[in-house]
């Protein structure tokens, strides 16, 4: 059904109200397409057809009764499988949670349910959101819809591929160091990692609590703004969440305001080693934005080269703590045929966790252990302060910053999977800003229809001041109208 290609959240909503189609028809069209085509891409880990049909019918009933419906009523979504939906599997793409069924709704799911959104199924990811390609999933690798020999990116690769291949109208992902933005760039969709604290993590399987954020993955920047507006806000079950009013500019940005924004170009992000295709696309993007009237200015983020190392100390440290709960005692896989409690732990974790999870747990245990704590973990926390200060100082001169999302387009499946360090460096442009809690969005440099045959999508990144999602979403909404 080619009709799905052109659909956006906005068009879907208008079509529902105009009674051009029903929510049920659209949900069924998505399921038909998924069943026909997701076999070769592998974006979903599980489908929720029965509950999705019920949810879609609820919206149709509300329309039939002339009740007010909200922006996301009936909107068919894919949800990353580390986000809990009551009664559905939540595996985090790990064998240790292979048979786990969620017993409650995540905070973001409660908000979406209150708008009567439709959940088509749970999307693939790297195990516990650790990786950059979905190759760390215990179940399957999600292939890039633009080239099946290439990765979809990660960790939210299933969500990115689902949106790109029209297996969902929009999706939720989670971003710790680039897990929404990098797969969005690779698959040619829009993805935003919000300000730390903007969106609840209650019911999101924790990887690195001081960095994890849930965010929208959509076909357009306007859709990202709609979905972000729906999921943001304080949740009493996530003490780090904040009630921030983003105002009317979120959905209706004004060009007079947007073109006043000064865009910084951090010199450390325009370096040799970045693929020339990426460099060229970013240059074209800058020219297009200049045509909108935006001003550009060079800035410096001097501690950029240390951010990856600091990040990959802080993340494993938190992983070793957060993943300790998967021990085979209360839920999940449990290898308890023989022996005492310690044997159960050893075997459950030994067989339940994949290679990257084990690597990070052990590395985290190391950097936190007595004798190494100061040299690694505390050092990394100090570097984190310096990286954050870089951004704060640059934001004294500019309103937003523009940078590549990743140094390359989507890479080949298998290219980096045996070299963890090479995989870590995929995040070099996406993770530094996360250390300071800043929001950033990946936007395709050109629309999918404008790609030449064989050309891979590439995203550019807009980084905002904290709580200034309206700036990056505003520029993005005008960019996609050029």
């Amino acid at each position: 059904m080619d009709f799905l290609h052109d659909l956006t959240i906005k068009k879907f909503h208008d079509g529902l109200l105009a009674k051009k189609f029903s929510a049920l028809e659209i949900a069924q069209a998505y399921f038909a397409r998924i069943k026909e085509k997701d076999g070769e891409i592998g974006s979903y880990l599980s489908l929720a057809e029965e509950s999705a049909i019920r949810e879609a019918e609820a919206t149709d009933l509300a329309i039939a009764k002339d009740e007010q419906i909200q922006d996301l009523a009936g909107v068919p979504l894919g949800i990353k499988d580390n986000i809990l939906i009551k009664g559905l599997p939540a595996t985090a793409a790990s064998k240790i949670l292979e048979h786990y069924v969620a017993s409650y709704d995540a905070g973001v799911i409660q908000k979406l349910k209150s708008q009567q959104a439709v959940f088509l199924g749970k999307t693939n990811l790297d195990e516990f959101a650790m990786g950059a390609s979905t190759e760390n999933s215990a179940f399957k690798t999600t292939k890039n819809p633009h080239d099946l020999t290439r990765v979809s990116g990660g960790t939210s690769g299933g969500s990115a591929a689902a949106v790109a291949a029209h297996f969902a109208l929009a999706a939720l992902g989670s971003d710790t160091g680039g897990s929404i933005r990098q797969p969005s760039s690779f698959c040619g969709v829009v993805g935003m990692s919000p300000t730390y604290g903007a969106v609840s993590r209650s019911g999101v399987i924790a990887m690195t609590s001081s960095l994890d954020q849930v965010g929208p993955m959509t076909k357009t920047v306007e859709d990202a703004a709609i979905l972000f507006g729906a999921i943001s806000g304080k949740d009493p079950l996530d003490a780090t969440s904040v009630d921030h009013q983003f105002g009317a500019d979120l959905l209706g940005p004004k060009l007079e305001k947007v073109k006043q924004l000064v865009v910084g170009l951090p010199e450390e992000y325009f370096i040799d080693g970045t693929d020339t295709v990426v460099t060229k696309e970013i240059e074209n993007t800058i020219e297009k934005l200049k045509s909108l009237g935006l001003k550009f200015k060079k800035v410096s983020l001097p501690h950029t080269k240390y951010a990856v190392a600091a990040y990959y100390i802080i993340v494993p440290a938190e992983v070793s703590s957060n993943l300790a709960r998967f021990d085979g005692i209360r839920y999940g896989t449990s290898m308890r045929e023989e022996g005492d409690l310690k044997d159960v732990y050893l075997r459950t974790k030994g067989e339940g966790f994949g290679a990257e999870a084990k690597r990070r747990i052990i590395l985290g245990t190391f950097v936190l252990s007595s004798g190494y704590y100061d040299a690694y973990y505390e050092k990394a926390q100090r570097v984190r302060t310096l990286v954050r200060r870089d951004f704060e100082e640059a934001f004294g001169q500019v309103d937003v910053m523009l940078a590549p999302v990743a140094p390359t387009p989507a890479f080949k499946i298998g290219e980096k999977i045996n070299d963890p360090l090479a995989m870590y460096l995929c995040d070099m442009f996406t993770l530094p800003l996360k250390l300071g809690g800043f929001p950033a969005i990946s936007i395709p440099t050109k629309s999918v229809s404008a790609l030449a045959p064989g050309e891979l999508p590439i995203g550019f990144q807009l980084i905002g001041k904290k709580w200034h999602e309206t700036d990056i979403l505003g520029i993005g909404q005008f960019y996609e109208r050029i």
């Binding site: 609590s209 780090t240 240390y306 310690k342 954050r388």
Partner: protein, 97 residues
Amino acid sequence: MAQISKEELRHLAELARIELNPGEEEKLLKDLGNILDYFKELQELDTANAIPMTGGTDLRNVFRDDAERGNTNRGAGIEAFPESEDGFLKVPPVFEE
């Protein structure tokens, strides 16, 4: 800066309660060696004047009302117990008999 020895790796795995097979040990020793090598570049940086950033939020003292909560989701998750008896979670023996 230290590299991790095989004995140290086994100790860390024991602390983390992860059983490793010999093949995994070899791969981990190599990978962790490369990763720790990469971390060395942090040592050249003077961080004496940077206070450690210990979390992601700037919030301090987030309180909730000391009041009864309507929905506590009590009892949810019992169906996920790997083993239970009379509604109680059954765990393996902590000590050998």
